[in-house]
């Protein structure tokens, strides 16, 4: 189930991001689904899976973006890894804790990208990019990620609530 899910994410997330997501863009900014997926994978499945999923999604996203490939790979991989490390210290993961982690990591990743690509543009251009791209993206990522987490948690809770027989089958 998990490998199929990850393969689906790898093949479908970036095309969806490049084509269909413009219908949900706010002030010209779309949520970064790859970052959200890497963060969720890290937060829920641990740092290694978060890192690997982040790296793989970063490669695919980088191939369909004008930016430097490595920058995408490292930021997405880093987000997966850090989300895994953050998830380890949360005893009771909730939507609110994920919201905080996602917002923090989105902001951090955005700052790294901004420093890398706008370092020569002056402070005014930097601040403008922060206000017009980084801030809306952080909000959108946090909202989308929390919504997805809420859906996953609900599904898991529902599955756990189903009584099972001794052989592990639904009784």
């Amino acid at each position: 189930m998990k490998p199929a899910l990850y393969a689906g994410l790898l093949l479908g997330l970036v095309p969806a991001q490049a084509t269909l997501l413009r219908y949900v863009e706010v002030v010209g900014v779309r949520p970064d689904l790859c970052l959200v997926a890497a963060c969720l994978a890290g937060f829920l499945a641990g740092e290694l899976e978060g890192l690997l999923i982040g790296l793989a999604l970063g490669v695919v996203q980088g191939l369909f973006s004008a930016g430097d490939l490595w920058l995408n790979v490292l930021t997405k991989g880093g987000v997966g890894l850090l989300a895994g490390l953050a998830g380890r210290h949360v005893t009771n993961p909730t939507s609110v804790s994920l919201l905080a982690v996602l917002a923090g990591l989105s902001a951090l990743s955005g700052m790294v990208v901004l420093f890398a690509i706008r370092s020569g543009g002056g402070l005014a251009a930097f601040l403008l990019a922060m206000r017009s791209v980084l801030a809306p993206e952080v909000v959108l990522n946090a909202a989308v990620g929390t919504g997805m987490y809420w859906l996953i948690a609900r599904r898991v809770r529902r599955q756990e609530a189903i009584p099972r027989g001794p052989a592990g089958l639904v009784g």
Binding site: P15, L20, G46, L63, L74, L81, G84, L85
Partner: protein, 292 residues
């Protein structure tokens, strides 16, 4: 939910640090390696990209040709059912006329520029929010290479910055990371056209004594980049002179509407038709093509 052990944490940290070291110690080699590793993945992803792009076009057609029309039809249905049907057909026909006009313009431009262009369709936007770029449905297999210029009948769109066998990424001229040499058509003075954070373009390094004024047309100079001389870039809308600066700059409104175009031409050889035909053939052992 699915917690991992501390061993995997060490492995993850080690892998990340290793990758960071490789990137910083061998930047060029690692970039090439990653690009080559990504090629088969890009080929795989190009299929869902095509599918999503087709879905995107259908959604646009549905919205433009049905949902928007449906509202009008609801009003009309009460009055004339027949008018609704005619209007539906009219929209289809108008869409066909617009598409054929667009394609005729593209064909006309292709004839004018010469045969060294490849027509491509825009299938997506940049996969991140940080760049203003578009994804085309043609790639290395169609002869598209990095640094080639991209245009529409209206003017310059941008230049190719990344290619895979089936797709390519074009950095738009309004992106701050892009730069093309431009020429003020009236005064013949050259400068560099760069994108701005606000999504416009700016002609920089105009001599202080230049008589540039608003309304002047800026075209490509043809000296560098993948463009022939004289392709429209935009019109000067504002001139900025800062006291003490050695040059002045001008804000440009691009000729191309970056929200509307769907088909573009990739210039595979910017030289005029005669020049490239006169050029002697490459020696048999020169397997590598000319640098873009």
């Amino acid at each position: 939910m699915f917690r991992t052990t501390s061993g995997t944490r060490r492995a993850a940290l080690f892998l990340f640090v290793l990758l960071l070291s490789v990137v910083f110690l061998l930047p060029k080699q690692s970039r090439g390696l990653l690009q080559n590793m990504g090629r088969p993945i890009a080929q795989l992803v190009s299929f869902p990209l095509e599918a999503f792009s087709a879905l995107d076009r259908s959604l646009r057609d549905f919205w433009g040709g049905y949902v928007a029309l449906h509202r009008v039809a609801e009003e009309n249905r009460r009055l004339h059912r027949e008018v609704e049907q005619l209007r539906g057909r009219n929209v289809d026909l108008q869409e066909m006329v617009t598409a054929s006009q667009r394609l005729a313009g593209l064909l006309e431009l292709k004839k004018r520029v010469g045969p060294r262009t490849v027509a491509a369709q825009v299938v997506g936007r940049d996969a991140t929010n940080w760049y203003r770029s578009v994804v085309l449905d043609k790639g290395e297999r169609d002869g598209i290479r990095v640094e080639m210029g991209v245009m529409t009948p209206d003017g310059v769109v941008g230049r190719v910055v990344r290619t895979t066998p089936f797709s390519s990424v074009v950095l738009l001229i309004i992106d701050p990371n892009n730069a093309v040499t431009g020429l003020i058509q009236r005064t013949r003075e050259e400068g560099i056209v760069e994108g701005t954070v606000q999504g416009r373009a700016r002609l920089k390094y105009i001599p202080l004594l230049s008589t540039v004024r608003t309304g002047d047309v800026v075209v490509t100079s043809g000296l560098t980049g993948g463009f022939p001389r004289g392709v429209a870039i935009g019109t000067v809308t504002r001139i900025d002179k800062v006291e003490g600066d050695l040059f002045q700059s001008a804000e440009i409104a691009p000729e191309v509407d970056f929200l509307k175009y769907e088909e573009v031409l990739v210039i595979t050889d910017p030289r005029p038709s005669g020049e490239s035909q006169k050029e002697p053939a490459l020696p048999a052992d020169s397997s590598k093509g000319p640098k873009p």
